[in-house]
């Protein structure tokens, strides 16, 4: 440390460089040790582990086996992709078109199908990492519990766009945590169910009439009253 003519001590550049170097070495040490600790911890508590509650492999390539992804068969012509988040009534070219039937599985490997059953069906496409899907699920549940949801309406959640490097993985546990009360279909890695229905954003809602034709589609968050109005108007028009 040098001393100026007034007797004040001045810092040397070399000392600052040395101090920075020491801090960088400490940071590198913390990162190496801490990074390994985090890795161990995540393995211990299961976060990031690619194992489903059922114990199967997360790829779930084979139907009937537990997995976060399941094969999906779409029978029929895929719907055109939804261009607007909330198209005006009559402006979605898919309205009135027969939707493809979907045959797939839930996370446990049990068969789930979406086909005309005489009752209207609401397909809800959800991605576990999507903040808007996380916000929408409680609203859907609130809508149901408020008694405003039509009794005849069946709801099927389709877990799509799943990624093991994203938050809330695995989606099977995510939907349990979110207390999803309806049936679930796990989409394939290639998102065949979502593309078959022309989903272009999450959460994606596709409302099907009892005969399997499309009543309405929309994407994005919706409040309880918006859900009620949207479904009500679409079912009235049928």
């Amino acid at each position: 440390m040098s001393v100026d003519p007034n007797g004040h001590k001045s810092l040397s550049t070399k000392r600052i460089v040395a101090a920075i170097a020491v801090v960088l070495v400490v940071i590198a040490g913390i990162a190496i040790v801490g990074g390994r600790s985090d890795d161990d911890a995540s393995t211990a508590d299961g976060a990031g582990a690619q194992v489903t509650p059922g114990g199967g492999d997360s790829s779930g390539a084979a139907g009937g086996a537990p997995g976060e992804f399941q094969p999906v068969t779409a029978m029929g012509e895929a719907l055109v992709p939804l261009e607007e988040s909330v198209p005006a009534p009559g402006s979605d070219p898919a309205e009135g078109v027969a939707a493809p039937m979907l045959a797939g599985f839930d996370f446990a490997g049990s068969a789930v199908t979406v086909r005309p059953s005489g009752k209207p069906v609401l397909l809800v496409f959800l991605a576990h990492w999507c903040p808007h899907c996380n916000a929408e699920i409680p609203r859907l549940i609130e809508w149901r519990e408020s008694g405003q949801m039509p009794d005849s309406l069946e709801v099927v959640g389709i877990a799509t766009g799943s990624r093991d490097d994203q938050v809330n993985w695995p989606p099977s546990q995510w939907l349990v945590d979110k207390e999803w009360p309806w049936a679930v279909m796990a989409d394939s890695k290639d998102q065949e169910a979502a593309f078959a229905m022309g989903v272009s954003g999450y959460p994606g809602l596709v409302l099907l009439a009892g005969d399997g034709t499309v009543l309405a589609r929309r994407s994005g968050e919706a409040s309880v009253s918006e859900l009620n109005d949207w479904v009500g108007a679409a079912m009235l028009s049928a």
Binding site: L11, R15, L24, S85, P131, H132, A194, G201, G220, E221
Partner: protein, 194 residues
Amino acid sequence: MDTETMQLLSVLLALFAAGGTLVLLVARLAAARSRGAANFVVACRPLALPLAFIVAGFATFGSLWFSEAAKYNPCKLCWYQRIAMYSLVVVLGVALGRRWIAGRRSPAGDAFLSQREITPYAVVLAALGSVVSAYHYLLEWNPTWESNVCSLDVPCTTIWFREFGFVTLPFMALCGFVSMIILLSTTYRLVHER
């Protein structure tokens, strides 16, 4: 290097860069009244350009590592920040090279000429980048600002990791941009050069 280690290393370096340069900023503000603070700023001056270059360089390396090795696909706002950060590596690198060449040719010359020349350009680039980073960071906490729909690819509301409850990739980029602004602007001219 595994992803966890790289994340923690990047986070700690970003916090160190931000903290260290905030000390420099405080010293610069106090330099007119405190001899010790002025001496600290004087001592930091030769380091400002190399440190700014190192910050930009590591941020560039980190962004490429996270996208290419960790497969964290960059979103639209990430790309805007990359434009600023990658440009800063080139701009600051050229200035550093010019300083080195000038020092060899004329050891008694103005060692800070290239730094003063490049500072306005670099600070503007870093300021633009920091605006985007700040917006991106706030967007992560308020995803409905952008839209109420998640796109099928990588939306800008995607949070790849959040260390210590608040440090995310845009936050680290913001730390880098702000560090460079402080490093270059606080040592642009010293008090006695006014």
